[in-house]
């Protein structure tokens, strides 16, 4: 009886987020039975790092063996291929894959795992602005907070899809998400959180699914 009420409260209590997805497609995805997709985060920049939880989220959303999308988790793949996909050694361009594949052991491992696509995600989520203040006090009579806080978050991610077998860039897509979170506090602070990174993840996962299995997108 209370379930719809709780859902409504949860929707009401979350901040608003807008997500913009852009796509550039050179070729349609073609996943055969037994093919795998690897989603990796770029970690070479000095002032930000693509969050591992974002990569895990996209992987979780995309993984669907019934539809033929088999995702190899990032940590597992990077460990299997150590040290060739570390921030220092990872190929930065598709053409660098040719040089990496000259290593017989690396090539055999990639083939054994049936890697068809490597998706590189580069970007991060940052707090761009914040305002307001909340003060809390504790006394013998009790405790409480009063005030109002707000902060903006922005996600900016770009995914490059590499066709490992054909050694070509299959396409690129970008996800920009913005959202404002609020926290009014009248005795108890009530966080109204905008799930900016989570929405960027879901937006990217949907677009990547359409990219990798176009047949599923047209049928739905």
């Amino acid at each position: 009886m209370f379930k719809p009420f709780i859902v409504l409260i949860l929707i009401f209590l979350s901040g608003c987020t807008t997500v913009v997805i852009d796509e550039y497609r050179r070729s349609d995805g073609e996943l055969a039975a037994g093919d795998s997709v690897v989603i990796l985060g770029r970690r070479h920049s000095s002032d930000y790092e693509t969050e591992p939880n974002l990569i895990a989220c996209v992987g979780r959303e995309l993984h669907n063996p019934e539809m033929g999308v088999n995702i190899i988790p990032e940590k597992e793949f990077v460990d299997i291929m150590y040290p060739w996909f570390e921030p220092r050694t990872a190929p930065m361009h598709v053409r660098s894959l040719d040089r990496l594949m000259e290593n017989r052991e690396v090539r055999e491992k990639m083939e054994a795992y049936g890697v068809k696509y490597i998706v590189w995600i580069d970007g991060s989520t940052e707090t761009t602005a914040s305002a307001g203040s909340i003060s809390c006090t504790i006394s013998t009579g009790g405790a409480g907070c009063f005030g109002f806080g707000t902060w903006d978050k922005e996600s900016d991610y770009e995914a490059s899809v590499w066709d490992f077998r054909d050694r070509e860039l299959s396409g690129k897509l970008s996800a920009d998400a913005k959202g404002t979170s609020y926290m009014p506090a009248i005795v108890i602070p009530i966080p109204l959180i905008a799930r900016v990174q989570n929405n960027a993840c879901k937006g990217m996962a949907v677009q990547l699914q359409q990219f990798l299995i176009p047949a599923a997108a047209t049928s739905s």
Binding site: R43, D47, Y48, E49, E51, P52, N53, D79, I80, M81, Y82, P83, W84, E86, P87, R88, T89, N103, R104, E105, V106, K109, S124, E126
Partner: protein
């Protein structure tokens, strides 16, 4: 009189306890543990001895700067695990040496001895960037079976981790150190063959091996 002494000692004890608690609140201890994957690639045709000194295996970095809180970072066990895993997979045959240069096994062609030269780290509030960063520098030494130095080179490693998804400074720093150690392993593995002295040593060994093979074949043919 006795009462006074007792009272004074209780008071002093309380002060000591309070000061210890306050000091402990400002000091951080990090024990880095890690398991590292074996590198993928061809093994080099060498029989190598690995000597990790006690100082290396128990390495603890201690920061006693006035501008910073006290940090004790023990990377000994983690770097022992890393170097044994990476060097153990790099060569056809490896032997862990408990002593060096004494008791060197006869079949060892090259002995590798790593040493920590430097460890540095920065916290987000120091750089105003939302990441923990770690740099580690290793001095690598390689000796031949007679104890002569074949090569000496430096490995620099870097690791960073954002603060957002981690709970404490200690955990964040541990993760950044683990990333730096993985980077050290990657640099060691991919850079070994690029050190000119080692390149020369390796090609010399390959030449003598092929000469030996040729001699065996010619004797058989006769």
């Amino acid at each position: 009189m006795m009462y006074r002494i007792k009272e004074a000692s209780t008071f002093h004890l309380a002060i000591v306890v309070i000061i210890s608690v306050l000091l402990a609140a400002c000091s951080h201890t990090v024990q880095v543990e890690g398991r590292y994957p074996s590198p993928v690639g061809q093994q080099l045709p060498l029989s190598v001895g690995i000597y990790l000194s006690e100082d290396f295996k128990n390495y603890t970095y201690q920061e006693e700067s006035e501008d910073r809180e006290e940090w004790k970072i023990n990377t000994g066990r983690a770097q022992e695990s890393l170097f044994e895993t990476v060097l153990g997979s790099m060569f056809l045959n490896t032997v862990s040496l408990s002593e060096y240069p004494q008791d060197l096994p006869a079949n060892v062609e090259l002995v590798i001895v790593p040493e920590v030269r430097e460890l540095q780290f920065t916290m987000p509030r120091e750089t105003r960037v939302n990441i923990f960063e770690v740099w580690i520098k290793y001095d690598m030494n390689a000796y031949d079976s007679r104890g002569n130095q074949v090569a000496s080179w430096v490995i620099t490693a870097y690791g960073k981790t954002p603060t957002a998804f981690l709970q404490s400074q200690e955990k964040a720093l541990t993760q950044a150190i683990n990333i730096a150690l993985r980077d050290a392993g990657a640099t060691l593995y991919t850079g070994f063959g690029k050190v000119p002295e080692l390149q020369a040593f390796l090609s010399g060994k390959l030449r003598s091996a092929s000469l030996q093979e040729f001699k065996v074949k010619s004797i058989k043919a006769e």
